[in-house]
Amino acid sequence: MPELQDFVRGVLLPGFLAGIGLALVWRPWNRAPAEERAPKRAWAALFFAIAFFASYAALFEPPPRPFTGTRTLGGVDWTIWIALVAGPVLFAGSFLGRFAVALWALLAGAVLFAVPRAMVRYHWSGGEAAVWLAGLAILLLLVGCATTGLGRRTERASLPIVLLIAATGLSICAGLTGSVLLAQTTGGLCACLGAAMIVAFWHPRFRLEAADLSFVVLVLFALGLCARFFSELRGVDALLLCAAPLAAWMPELPGLRDRSPLQRGLLRCFAAAVPVGIAVTRAILGFEPDPYGDDYYDY
């Protein structure tokens, strides 16, 4: 059963680290005249990566180092390491213009190669692995494009809220379908997104850049893979969670485009909440409490 110290380590710590980092970086930029403002950089990816790693290390322990031969890394271990590398890489990539896309593709390849590795090794035939990996690559590309595309259109805090809804949905579904560890790990990313949302309300010009969004998509996708393949998250629910950033395009439909920014933002969040809400409801309904009132996370 998660305790208060888990909340402090898994939510307050990453939220504080990401929030303080973003607030410090964005404050001087926000004050400077527009023409003196430095080009937008993926600061959020950098701070999210640090905060996410810190929360996992504080909750459990730092994941085993890869390539040392002392332990076979699991999907969650790879996710934590890829996230830690992806933050600085995407931050650096935000200085490189078009090359940033190539970096994202490399990181996406790393996620698809490393995270579902056990499925390829033990559970899928060669043909099944090819079909699954191709399908997952298309899905990741679709979700990535949908999310980064939203970055150019969204109003103030609505995009952090959309991503926070998706991440919270994944965390709840993972917790209800067998893995508290995955729920808590995802909670670290939720805290980062929550901090970004607060900073977005505070600094009107704050935006999550394309590289920041790429980072969030990669990490959420990797955690979703773990929940789907190594825990008991159902395929339909995983797809519903992936649909959240796609649904957030709703205000771009003809007839809704001309609404006020506030209305569009609210509509965006509501649209994203619908598929996530269905997935969470299905997970709640599928969760069978123990007849002795001792739910599984107490075991």
Binding site: M1, E3, F60, E61, P64, T70, R71, T72, L73, G74, G75, V76, A118, M119, Y122, H123, G178, S179, V180, L181, L182, C226, F229, F230, S231, E232, E288, D290, Y296, Y297, D298, Y299
Partner: protein
């Protein structure tokens, strides 16, 4: 004539000596190591863990396989290999089994086999053996030493069967299983009782 007689006596005595001297195999018969196959029906792998820091909780694994070579006269030549399917964890409560298979505990999809392979066997006190080997669990391989009791040997359905029993403790955090340490503890006691039939 005397020369022939000497030759005859010499050859005869050598022949007698050869006949009276048993072949080396007969005087010190080499005990052959016998190979056994684990009987999964009569083999039990149980675990005992704390729950809520208030009680002990038992579970089992229902899919166990393996084989071993046993040489009673020369224990050093013995060898043990046991494999347990992590997916087969059984606590009589499906929901709990599901949780134990998840990444919180055994992570059975990613680390489907728990394996023990001996590297050294030596005789201990009477009827006991000290077995050192590599235990692979949750993606980590560590050397452990367990004391195995030779419970008995018998004939069953025309075949030789043999039984061993051991109880040992594993610190699960050393194997990267860090979930719920505050309420479940880190030490898990393993109770392994093996019955095997000669191949």
């Amino acid at each position: 004539m005397r020369f022939l007689l000497c030759i005859f006596i010499l050859v005869g005595s050598l022949g007698l000596a050869a006949l009276s001297t048993p072949p080396p195999e007969a005087s010190a018969p080499a005990v052959e190591a016998e190979e056994f196959q684990i009987d999964p029906v009569h083999t039990s792998v149980l675990f005992k863990s704390r729950h809520n820091n208030a009680s002990y909780f038992y579970g089992r694994f229902s899919d166990v396989s393996g084989s071993f070579t046993f040489d009673e006269k020369n224990p050093g030549a013995s060898k043990v290999e046991v494999e347990v399917k992590a997916e087969s964890v059984d606590t009589r409560t499906p929901k709990l089994d599901q949780h134990l298979r998840s990444p919180d505990f055994f992570d059975a999809k990613q680390f489907p086999v728990i394996r023990f392979e001996s590297t050294k066997v030596k005789a201990g006190k009477k009827g006991f053996y000290e077995v050192t080997g590599d235990l692979s669990l949750h993606g980590v391989t560590k050397s452990i030493t367990v004391e195995m009791e030779h419970v008995g040997t018998a004939e069953a359905r025309g075949n030789k069967v043999i039984g061993f029993h051991t109880v040992f403790t594993v610190d699960r955090t050393e194997f990267g299983m860090n979930y719920g340490v505050s309420s479940l503890g880190s030490d898990v006691e393993m109770i392994v009782s093996i019955e095997a039939a000669k191949k």
